[in-house]
Symmetry: D2
Subunit: 458 residues, 4 copies
């Protein structure tokens, strides 16, 4: 999230981060710049907790600011790991925030430490910062290009200097980054999703392109394309689960994509049932599509408790044994005596699905059928989505029948690849001109996994 050229830029950045809260709930931070220099504030928790004091916002003056929500894929969340990272260079200050994962971060880190660089955090972003610091080039932009040519991975990045704001997507464009503009002030906005524009009344201008660097200063927006063009691979899981339903990514409204997947799913895996029930909230549009196509009524048979936070006490074994349902509860009047189709976005370990199925049966469902709006998740993501290792992925170790048994359903079906891509407007997976990254389903990793494969030179 970044703002250039607006009064109270930090307050706008906080708003944008709030709209993007679903992309990371561990911690939040903002760096702003004014004539007084750079100021930062970071904290653990939700945006609304970290930026809940008007004095905090007042301590971040200036007309430019970048911010970040932390979504931890590994390790403890320490304050020093919260982005944006800021450093003073010979050429001045630079703040950096990124979304995604580098696949050669560990490898580069070893090289940099050997060279005398001292790391303060365990974040990939600090690799960028050191690469920029030691680059032999003169200008910030040359140093940034020098740095991004050395990293591999799936990432979008925003950076702020005293003179400009920079936005950048990796060459394959795996993670999203969009450009918007505030109507009256003409201020520029960079954000991961369009919903961050909507919250502040900004207009969508365009997606930043894969491999593109946009440089925003008071003269406007410049585009730099330091990479040779390759076929993009946008993360298909953003459509299935990660992005907010009211966002529009790469031209596709997420909500419509999910509904269409539900329609395809109903065509592929019809079932004779009384009611279509989404696992809220992410399963709702697909369940609506499924209901529409199948003609079976759509009902909110599962209620989500919206007050669940990260801090609630872990129940003891004694209490867990009672079948505690912290996050979801069954709406008995919808389920009792019914043949139920549950629609969810994915099955990872299978434990949550099992609990939900048990709860639905305990509420009196006579049959429970599960329909999943993604293909089976068989491989971990190394590109920015938190997934367990392969051995813990139910679909990596079980066939469809035994998955159904583990989860306790009468039938189980996943969307096919062709169905998925048809829903996104293509003829099917093989027929696509522009591709997606679907490595978590296929194992087809489009970016080298340097750290994982232990090679010192990528």
């Amino acid at each position: 999230m970044g703002i250039w050229g607006a009064d109270e830029a930090a307050a706008l950045a906080a708003l944008g981060l709030h709209a993007l809260q679903h992309r990371g709930q561990e911690a939040a931070g903002i760096v702003s710049h004014s004539v007084e220099g750079f100021r930062q504030h970071k904290g653990l928790g939700l945006v609304g907790d970290v930026f809940n004091d008007p004095r905090v916002i007042a301590s971040l003056p200036g007309r430019s600011a970048i911010g970040h929500n932390r979504y931890a894929t590994t390790g403890a969340t320490l304050l020093r790991n919260v982005q944006p990272l800021f450093a003073e260079f010979e050429f001045g200050g630079l703040a950096v925030a990124h979304n995604g994962n580098l696949t050669n971060a560990e490898t580069l880190r070893k090289v940099l430490v050997r060279r005398g660089c001292i790391f303060q955090s365990t974040t990939d972003s600090e690799v960028f910062v050191h690469l920029i610091a030691i680059s032999l080039y003169e200008t910030v932009m040359d140093r940034l290009i020098d740095a991004v040519k050395q990293v591999k991975g799936a990432y979008s990045l925003v950076a702020l200097t005293s003179d400009m704001m920079i936005g950048l997507r990796d060459p394959l464009g795996v993670r999203p980054l969009i450009l918007g503009r505030l109507p009256h002030s003409g201020a520029w906005v960079l954000a991961s999703e369009t919903c961050a524009l909507d919250i502040m009344g900004a207009e969508f201008v365009r997606d930043v392109e894969p491999g593109e660097i946009v440089v925003i200063d008071d003269a406007g927006v410049r585009s730099i394309k330091p990479f040779s063009p390759v076929s993009p691979r946008f993360c298909v899981f953003e459509y299935i689960y990660f992005a907010r339903p009211d966002s529009v990514l790469e031209g596709h409204p997420v909500y419509t994509a999910r509904q269409k997947i539900g329609v395809e799913l109903a065509r592929e895996s019809a079932v004779d049932a009384d009611v279509i029930v989404p696992v809220p909230d992410s399963g709702v549009p697909a369940a609506m599509g499924f209901a529409m196509e199948s003609g079976i009524p759509f009902e909110m048979g599962i209620i989500r408790n919206h007050y669940v936070g990260r801090t609630f006490i872990e129940p003891t074994d004694h209490i867990r044994h009672l079948g505690v349902r912290m996050k979801h509860s069954a709406n008995r009047v919808v389920l009792e005596g019914k043949r139920v189709v549950l629609v969810d976005d994915s099955i990872v370990r299978g434990t949550t699905s099992r609990k939900i199925v048990d709860m639905v049966r305990a509420a009196g469902a006579t049959e429970v059928h599960m329909r999943i709006s993604s293909p089976p998740t068989r491989h971990p993501c190394f590109y920015g989505i938190d997934t367990p290792e392969e051995s813990k992925l139910l679909a990596a170790t079980h066939d469809l029948a035994s998955m159904a048994e583990v989860i306790g359903v009468d039938s189980l079906a996943f969307i096919s690849f062709d169905g998925l891509y048809r829903a996104l407007g293509h003829e099917g997976r093989d027929a696509m001109a522009a591709g997606y990254c679907d490595a978590c389903f296929t194992g087809d990793y489009p970016i080298e996994l340097v750290d994982k494969e232990g090679r010192l030179v990528a």
Copy 2:
């Protein structure tokens, strides 16, 4: 919320309070009892914030506990106002928590202060506590009955002594209170709604009856009925808005009631439109009913941001002017170029409705029609629901046409009284054997408003 006879009673009470979080988010407290005596813990904030530390739960030992979520109808939320209130009496300790409002609390308070009672809080509950303390009767139960005969109002109450747990509803049964039981331990549960049973796997036993006192101890449940029977007046707004959709109150599933209201509303106030859009979350079932009956597609055209907390920074005027939408955002793909029917539960001041309508129009809706699943709110509630004074209620000062103008809609309609009560299974308002309290719509207040009317003797 109360638990009697279960290991880790306080942990179960915390679970129940979590399920009842929608009934009050200001503060939470639990008092437990064990051989070591009474222990309490209270704090400002959500249940998950107040009881987020296993050591806190461990500090509340015992097999009985009562808890409370604070829903402030007036004044500042201070720690000393957080329930349950606990006091040591000659006969031993007593903890009390109640839901609702006394209508003669101020009047009784003046009398008690004149008599030498010292109040530590500004809660109605403390009136109960002092009435019990000064009662000339011997036993706790006699003193409690002595006390409840002096108070007027709409309330449900749970109390805990070293020997028993007590549950009580006011004579008209305005506020709910239900009794449940845990399957294996046989422990008893009192709670405002059935969803608190579901979260811990407890079974619904029955509603506590209006005017009934249930006394729970190791011998089981006893019923005392100290009042002469009157026709009950359950709060109809619990069905419309306040209760959770998966709860069942007085035999009616809340979800079904809301859907049926939507059906009635569609029959009464049909409109030619392209899409039915709920104002989430409370408007969802009614919108589904409306869509079902009208045949117009139901779509999630408004997305609710579930991370909104009470602490988020208030935007400055400058930023508010941008049209900031902290809580809801428009899902443009559903709204653009469409004739939209918005379904919401009520209109209070009208300001929120206006913002939502503006947002929907800004997203491209060509027409916006508003349908409300309650009659116009014309009178304040003195019985436990937080409403502004009459002069601030839009429906108290505007006719339908000018309300539509204020809100900015093309058409506006409310459910009729007959439609509302048909949805609840009656022939209509006049035909009901058992009545409801609908004073906020009708001004027909079934319980004397002693404090309001300034009479010293009720």
Copy 3:
């Protein structure tokens, strides 16, 4: 501590509490009164911690204020036990703070609870508050007199209403209370010791007399003497240890009293030695007097660490075994090879004395003689000084020789009663016209110990 008639009364009260910090370090509180009513702030810890924020002081407006430092004689320090206590009565608000102990508090409490009073704290002050609340008299003053006639004990009390500030000493005047005045504003000050006047540049007016009530309002100071006069019994331990050396109590400078006790002690219990060493800080003046009289050099052979707070980590057994000295350290250059006379104010359990003696020997002292500036402490205090029960008082269970052995000294001597009272200007204990309370040394308790003796009617 109380202020009447000064701008920023709460800030002055905080200053006075700071000067009186030695009388209680557990917690601090201030209640102020202005046209906006009564405001209070309380917290656990030192005055400087509780009142460290200008906004806190600003939240206590008005020209009158009373404050209190908590010195816990028993039980846990909870916020609700922190004084001043404030309550709303029929006649208006009243804040009360007291220093000392009631000897019939438990007995009165039982009676009050039986009558229907609900206690929120475990402090003696709340007994006053309830007695005032239930008094049948009309005016505050009559109710206060009604209350103080029912309590027994050793206490000084300040109270604040919207109209006046009240100061009061128990009939025997066991605990101190002095009246002062600010030079320019003419504002009145009540405090336990004169050092609270000095810090704010106020002038000493007079001691409040035993059994006297002073009533301060805008018309000046009125004196009420509701008790029949009895021979006063001021606490002699205030001179020996409790009061600050720069205070003047009942006409005697504390510093001079301590030095003279040292002189008498040197006369009574001379010893051939090389150096006189005080146990700082309270032993310093007596050691100076001892050195002066004996002609032996005075040296700071023990250094006190002034950063010791209540919160420092308790050393584990392993580390304690190393002979850790958190509070005092030996100044080897003064002690090595010397015959040392240690001068301290009292021996309670003997454990601290033992540690200090060991430390002095470890620093190379060839002989260690201990001289104590009080008689042996053989009885607990029930009048406001925290002492352990009798069985834990070393002097209650050991004769002089075995005390010397326990403590590890070559010789041990205490001041005699005659020496003590000569130092205070009398001929000796038996010859005194006006007496002192020296119950901790003699067991001669001048006020009935009602609670201790278990009588229901005092």
Copy 4:
């Protein structure tokens, strides 16, 4: 402060820091090492506040630990500036803490930033860390020597790796560092003063020598002397004010040194008076020496309030005007009607002295003479003692007579240089074989002030 080879090393380090609290009260930190790697804890405030929780100590396992108290000479105290600093290098982890100031830190910092080093703090210690990181040498020790040869300044340093603890004094030995040993375990201790040994029962082994590196590992202590020997210049102000009186530095007990200065001062600047009064606490030994030599009685005429913390509310102008005395109060009985000699350690700005003199006069002193146990402070210290710039030093801008007038005394005298050095056992300043740093009195700076003089190459 450092510990090598003891169980609960972090707890011992906390004890030592507590004994050294007078050297820095802004913040405290400890890094420990065990088989689990390095762990750290840091916080703002006193040692007892930062390490007040047994769980904090338990989170610092291992048999080696170093710790630091922050004494801020400039700038805001931020957590990231709190030492020890820790960094991961190619060769493993290294923690560093130092006492003192580098005089070329800014200059080196600019060079390092230009080279690509990223600084996270504004501390001099981080310069060490980066110099070590980028050194071309292989071993830690070679890199450390490489680093210390590049820095200039007055500093003592302790460092910890997984294999050894290192202690180091600058070539002139301006700041102290001593080596001690625990009797039973044989664990080694490094600390700034011997009082840190006494608190844990450790024995003094020797001073680390100027320019010496001591390397402590399980094989014992090795000494490395990387610098060519020069005449040492120990800070004489450590004796006058900074060190604790019970410490022994460079063979001289601090307490004795201060007393002897008092003796010399009495000889040089006798005055006919009634009483010798120290400004506590640092003036006490010198006042005792003065009293001894002059034969005039020594009295505690000023009482220090030991509860003064850094956080107390700043009085408003209104209240300050009353002559508030937060830190010291006058003991009137000692001062009234007397000719008073005040003995203090130094005069810096003169404002504190003026306040004390006014207070003493207000308490009735007929004459006030001031005797100072140091020469006039005319120059700022760049070697680790916090002093204001020259223009704010009273003695830099006033002659003796006008200083006396500013302070309001009847006479004023400072110790002479010869008197000062005689007290330390020398014939006088010119006759000393081994010198001291007395730059704050003489302006004779023994170490180049590189940053101050703005030279890029030192």
